[in-house]
Symmetry: C2
Subunit: 464 residues, 2 copies
Amino acid sequence: MFQRVCVLLLALGSVLGAQGPARRNVTLIVTGGTVVAMDAGGRVLSPGAVAIDGRDIVAVDAPAAIAAGFSAAETIDATGQVIMPGLINTHTHAPMVLFRGLADDLALMDWLQKYIFPAEARTVSPEFVRVGTALAALEMIESGTTTYADMYYFEEEIGRVTRAAGLRGVLGETIIQFPVPDARTPAEGLARTETFIKEFAGDDLITPAIAPHAMYTLDTATLKAIRAMADRLHAPVITHLAETADEVKTSMQRHKLTPTQYLDSIHFWGPRTLAAHAVKLTPADIRILARRGVGISHNPESNMKLASGTAKVVEMRRAGLAVGLGTDGAASNNDLDMFEAMRQAAFLHKLQTGDPRAIPARTALAMATIDGARALGMDALIGSLEPGKRADLITVSMTAARQTPMYDPLSHLVYVTRGDDVRTTIVNGKVLMRDRKVLTLDEADVLRDARAMAARVSEAVRKQ
Amino acid sequence: MFQRVCVLLLALGSVLGAQGPARRNVTLIVTGGTVVAMDAGGRVLSPGAVAIDGRDIVAVDAPAAIAAGFSAAETIDATGQVIMPGLINTHTHAPMVLFRGLADDLALMDWLQKYIFPAEARTVSPEFVRVGTALAALEMIESGTTTYADMYYFEEEIGRVTRAAGLRGVLGETIIQFPVPDARTPAEGLARTETFIKEFAGDDLITPAIAPHAMYTLDTATLKAIRAMADRLHAPVITHLAETADEVKTSMQRHKLTPTQYLDSIHFWGPRTLAAHAVKLTPADIRILARRGVGISHNPESNMKLASGTAKVVEMRRAGLAVGLGTDGAASNNDLDMFEAMRQAAFLHKLQTGDPRAIPARTALAMATIDGARALGMDALIGSLEPGKRADLITVSMTAARQTPMYDPLSHLVYVTRGDDVRTTIVNGKVLMRDRKVLTLDEADVLRDARAMAARVSEAVRKQ
C-alpha cells in the first residue's frame, strides 16, 4: 500500500512538474510498454520506461519513477508494446540482399557456380555494395536489428552507408586467396583492409574488422598475416568456420586437423574473434574455442536451407561459449529478420535434442541480444537495457490477433512475433524508425535503386 | 505480333465498353497481380486476372483478356501483388488460440498435465469455443487461410462461427474415451457428432466430420463405431496418427502393431480420412496409408516445438500420398500462419535429408494449397485457380523491403513472405478481407472477448 501511494505521488509529481526535486533533462524517454531488459537479473517491468540522454541509457524503471526523475525533449509512448534491446545480427553479408531469391533449392555447387559466383563476378562494385547495403539497412531497421556483423567486399562502402543509416556495425573486409571484386590478391586485400580500418578508427558506430573468408579459402601465411594485422590494429576478426562436412574433409586432408584445430595450431584464435556457423564441431573443437574466448554466430535458417547441418548449440552454451544468432546473407536465408532466427533456434534445437525444454524463449532472446553482444566482445556497451549502456533499443507491438491473448511477453517475442511488429528502432540514442517510418533512409529511393541493380544481376546470370 | 494487336484490340474494347462482343456479367474481378494458379500446368501469369461469378471462378487469364470477356460488379486491383489460391490449413484446434503462449518450453507431460488439461477442464465451454474460434478465424482470414480442418469440442459452435466468418471448414467433433467438456462418454460424443453432422449437412462452407482423437485414446469398439458412422453419414474422418514415439510404443504393447497397422487391422482407414502428424511411420505404414488413400497433414512447426520428430515427407510424397500442411493448434505452435508452415516444411526437409533440393518452393506451395485439398478429398473444388472451382483466393503484397528485389514470386512466397503480407482474402466468391480490413468479424470485439476469456484461463491455471 505504501508503495502504491508513493507511485501515485511520484506520478502526480510528474504531472504537476515542479513539485518534486529538480528533474534531470534528458533527450528521450520511451515509456508505457513492457520492458524486457535482458540484464543479468532478467528484469521485466510491466509497464516500464527507459530514459536516454544523448547516446546512453541513463535509467530503466517504472514509468512514474522515470517521469519523476527526468524531463525529456522527446517522449515515445510504447503502450501495448515491448521495449527491449535492439537485436544483434552476428552474421550477414549485407549487399547480398540483392541476390535474395535469385536461385534456391539447388545443390550447393550448382547454386554457387551457376548463380552466385557469376553474378558476383559481373555485378559486385562499389555502387552495387552501396545500393545493397542501403536495402539491407532499411530491412534491418524495419525489423529491429540495431547492430550487425558483416563480411563482404568494398567494406568501406558498407561502413559509410551503415553510418549514414545510423546502424551499429562490426564490419569485416573479406580476405580470400583468389581474385575477388575488390582485390586481385590477398596482399591487396590486406592493404585495403588496413586503409579501411584506419578510416573508421574511433568511430562511434562502426567497428572495422578483418574477415578472412574461411580456413579452406586461405593459405597459412595469409591467415597468420591477418592475425598479426588484427593484433597490431586492435581489430576484431570474423571468419566462417566448419560450415559443412566438405570443409572438415578438406581440412583433414590438408592438415590432418579439424578446421578449429588447424586454426588453433597456427595461433589464429583469440578474443574478439567471431566464428560463423560452427556446424561441424567435435567436442575437442568446442573446448578449444571456449579456451580461446572465441564468439560463435549460429545461423539456423541458413544451415537448414542449405542443408549444412545442425550446430551443437546446447553443447556450446554448456561449454561457456558466447553463442549469438545470425541470419547469414539473404542469398541463403532469404531475409534479415532476427525474430525468425530466434524462433528457428528454439524450434531446431528442441527437435534435434528431442527435448522441448532446449533453448526456451528466454535463451533464444538472449542469443539475439546479450549473448550476441558477448560473441562480439561488446557486452559492456550493448545487448541489454541498463544504465550506462548505449541506447540501442526497439519497441515491438504486441496487439495483433496472432499475438492475442498474451500470457508471457517473452514467449510471444520468440514464437509469434516478426520483424514487421517492430514500431520504433533507436541506435546510439537516435530514433532511426518511428511508427514504422524509417527516418534515415528514403525507402522509395532505396527500393528503386535495388530493383534497377537487380535487373543488372538478372542480365549477368542470363549471359553466362 | 498478331497476338499483340489482338490483345490491344481486346484491351481497347474493354475501355470503350460496347465495341467488342457482349461481355459476360460477373460479380468480381481480381486483376493486375502475378497469378500463381497452382494448377497441374504450374501456370504463372504476370500480370494475370481472375474472373469470379457468385461462388465460382469462371476464368483465369491475362488482364486484357479478362477485361474483354467480363464485366464485373466489383474489381480488386492487385498490382504489385500475387494472386493465388487461398491456403489450406489441414490441422488445427481453432479455440486453442486462447491457450497460445500459456506454457512453452516444457516436457510434454508437464505441459499437458500442469497447464493444458487443467485449463481445458475448467474453461472449455460453448462460450470459450465461440470466442476462441472467432479469434482463430480472424487470424486465419488475416493470414490468407481460406479452408481449415479442425478437431475440438463443441464443434457445432465452431461450425456456426466459421460459417458466419465466411471461412470454409472441415470440422471434426472430437471423440475420446475419457470424459471431456462436451461428452462424458464416447457414446455421448458419438450422439453429439451425429446431431452436429446433420445440422451442417449440405452446407456450402462447412463439411462436418468425425474426429477420433487418436488410436491410443480410444478403444477398438469406439473406433469401429466411428468408422461405421462415417460411412453411414458420408462424413470425413480426422485423427492424430503416430505423433510421438510414445504412441508407437503404446500401440506395440497393446496390439503388437504400429498405430497405422492396428487401425488398418480394424478397417479404420479409408478415403476422406485425414491423419495428422504421421511423424513416426515405417515404410510399411506409408504403403498402407497410400493403398487406403489416406490424406496426411504435416505439421512441421508443432513437431519441432514439441520435439516430436521429423515426418518422412519426401518418402510419403514419393509413395503418392497427398501431404498437406497444418499449423496444429496455437497452444503448440503458437500461431496459425501457413506461410511459416510452408517455410518450415522447406527448411526442415532440406536439413533432415541433407539435400537443399528437397521440398523446393513450388512443392511447399503445393502442400499448402492443392495437395492440402487432395488430402481433404476436396481437390475438385479448391486448391488451385481454375475455372469451375470455388473462388477461394488471396492476394499477397510483394513490395516490402524484405521482398525486394523479386526474381521469382514462388521463392518469395515461401522464403520471405508472412501472413501479414496478405491484402485480400476471398472465400466462395465473397470478400472476407479487403486491404487488410476483415469484413466479417469485428476485430476490436473479437480481441476484447479473447482477452477477457484469457483472464479466466490464467485464473484456472493458477488455482490448480
